[in-house]
């Protein structure tokens, strides 16, 4: 009886104890989950801010590489473009990019973030229409903000290439269209669970999605606009049109380098200690190697260490490592940087030779190295080096598989981004025109477009 009692008591106590223990376990798991959400959100938002800060870097670099008389114009463009991107991406871009839909485009919750979503729940627990982003356990608005700053970067890239001749309002319109119709479509293919993702193409932080898309849109813009007056003389002569402030350009490149520590490591969208430590080092090392590569090659080829090339080199290395920063070793990042640094110098000279006039080198930096960086994943990737199952690249013994997937991504993005951006440019050209008048271009867009100059006291002191 007492045994029976003991037994019953025992059972009851054991049950009570187990419930108690289970509750602790659940609570502690819950807390841990909350902690993880908080940690990841903190990381995502801080790195997103750094990417936002790249607007400053782009503004500095592009203003520095432009002439004094077009300063207000390029500042205005680079400033307003993020406002345009913010509203365009909220209105439609996010939805097309991350909404559930078909392999080509998002079709659910496309407008104004209005789709169902129970973030920060992840994976199986996720319930909503933005399932392509359900791998990261942060609130929906954190995901949105992080993606927004990337979209803004893509739009900004165009600004520098078309500088010193494009009408202000035409640029604004193009940016708006690009953020809603070009960027999110390609984004959907790769980051939105679309067909390129399915096919096994990888682009960790956006060599293709952000940089080469910006680059293609810049290329069509530059071609349709034509070169700046006086840039190319007779008999193939290439005239120098130096930027008005190399200090600004150099300091801006440092700001971009800094921002890239948000761009790449932030793309984990989780405070994954070992991955982000790895990525920050590959990112930095590629930049360093590219700087030395570009400086050396320009020293050898041109006779002097051209600061503009050094700066473009840094950015080239950063763009090139962006796709693979989480997939390659530190050693490979040195190689990728070195190649990017050399590539950018040759590319700048090549574009000038074929009379494609890009005042800031955006094509060589973002397009050429965006493409190279994407392909580099197919060559240098090491499976699971920071946890992601990419498979091995060519040089790690993985054969051609990954490289072919990367090539497919590059090619298909080229086709879409080139075509879509050309159509938009041409449509704007047809309706309101793209290029300012030659008189305005000579006098400067600051006076023509904005009725003001950037440095009035340099004109006549007061």
């Amino acid at each position: 009886m007492s045994a029976y009692l003991a037994d019953r008591k025992l059972r009851r106590l054991v049950i009570a104890l187990m419930t108690f223990a289970a509750l602790i376990a659940v609570a502690s798991a819950e807390m841990d989950k909350d902690t993880k959400v908080a940690l990841d959100t903190l990381w995502v938002l801080v790195t997103a801010m750094l990417v936002f800060f790249m607007n400053l870097g782009f503004g500095m670099v592009e203003t520095g590489f432009a002439r004094m008389k077009n300063c207000v114009n390029i500042l205005s463009k680079n400033f307003i473009v993020f406002a345009v991107a913010s509203l365009g991406f909220l209105l439609l871009g996010w939805g097309l990019m991350f909404g559930d839909g078909n392999p080509y485009i998002g079709t659910q919750g496309v407008f104004f973030l209005t789709g169902a979503d129970n973030s920060p729940a992840i994976r199986e627990e996720y319930n909503g229409v933005y399932s392509a982003m359900s791998w990261t356990g942060v609130p929906l608005l954190a995901k949105f903000f992080f993606q927004l700053v990337f979209a803004g970067t893509a739009a900004t890239i165009v600004s520098g290439a078309v500088a010193e001749r494009i009408k202000y309002k035409s640029f604004i319109l193009f940016s708006f269209a690009m953020i809603m119709l070009i960027y999110p479509v390609i984004g959907h293919w790769i980051w939105g669970g679309g067909w390129l993702a399915t096919m096994g193409a990888f682009d960790f932080a956006g060599s293709t999605v952000v940089h080469s898309v910006g680059g293609w849109a810049a290329l069509t813009g530059v071609i349709i606009l034509g070169p700046r007056l006086g840039k190319y003389g007779m008999n193939g002569k290439i005239n120098i049109i130096p930027g008005h402030n190399l200090a600004l350009a150099t300091l801006g490149t440092l700001v971009l380098w800094f921002g890239w520590f948000g761009f790449n490591p932030g793309s984990t969208m989780a405070a994954d200690a070992s991955a982000i430590s790895h990525i920050i080092v590959t990112t930095n090392t590629a930049a360093a190697a590219a700087i030395l590569g570009a400086t050396l090659i320009s020293w050898l080829v041109l006779g002097k260490p051209d600061l503009g090339m050094t700066l473009n080199g840094a950015l080239a290395g950063l763009v090139a490592i962006t796709a693979g920063c989480a997939f390659v070793s530190i050693g490979s990042s040195v190689l990728i940087g070195l190649i990017a640094g050399i590539l950018v110098v040759l590319s700048v000279m090549f574009f000038d030779r074929i009379k494609v006039d890009d005042p800031v080198g955006a094509l060589s930096v973002h397009l050429v190295n965006g493409v190279f960086g994407t392909l580099a994943v197919g060559i240098f990737a090491q499976d699971r080096i920071t946890g992601v199952a990419t498979g091995n690249g060519l040089l790690s013994g993985g054969g051609m598989g990954l490289l072919i997937a990367q090539l497919t991504a590059v090619a298909s993005v080229a086709v879409y981004a080139f075509t879509a951006s050309a159509i938009i440019w041409l449509a704007i050209k047809a309706v309101i025109g793209l290029r300012v008048s030659p008189q305005e271009e000579i006098l400067g867009l600051d006076i023509g477009e904005h009725g003001m100059t950037a440095y009035p006291d340099l004109e006549i002191p007061t």
Binding site: G230, G233, K237, I442, L443, I447, G451, M452, T453, E459, I460
Partner: protein, 125 residues
């Protein structure tokens, strides 16, 4: 000897210099200036207020020449700088009493000219 002062549109500096080079006028001094003439100005706006700007950017050339170079210099500037629009600029010719080359101490016509050591290559303009 004369001192020729010319105001031209900034974007014309390259061709004017090239034209003068081709006429063996290699020496000159250049400054930036603001000019006000028949060329229309523009309205500047700043923080909601407006102002009519009539002083526009110009390049000012100062060229000391010996008498046999006066005409070719003036002609060269006119040829290269002329577009037919308001704002093309003006040339002023002033008497020049003396010229001294600091390096050599030479004076007079000899100090102004002669064939310059530096012969611009055809590549630059």
């Amino acid at each position: 000897m004369k001192l020729i002062i010319a105001y031209i549109q900034p974007e014309k500096l390259g061709v004017v210099k090239k034209e003068l080079d081709s006429r063996k006028v290699h020496r000159m001094s250049v400054t930036r200036a603001k000019g006000c003439g028949q060329q229309r100005g523009y309205v500047e706006s700043y923080r909601g207020s407006k102002k009519e700007i009539t002083l526009l950017s110009k390049i000012r050339l100062e060229i000391a020449v010996n008498d046999d170079f006066i005409d070719t210099t003036v002609e060269g500037i006119v040829n290269a700088a002329k577009t037919g629009n308001f704002g093309d600029g003006k040339i002023f010719v002033l008497p020049l009493d003396e010229c001294i080359q600091i390096r050599t101490g030479e004076t007079g016509p000899a100090a102004i000219g002669g064939i310059s050591r530096y012969v611009p290559s055809s590549k630059d303009d």
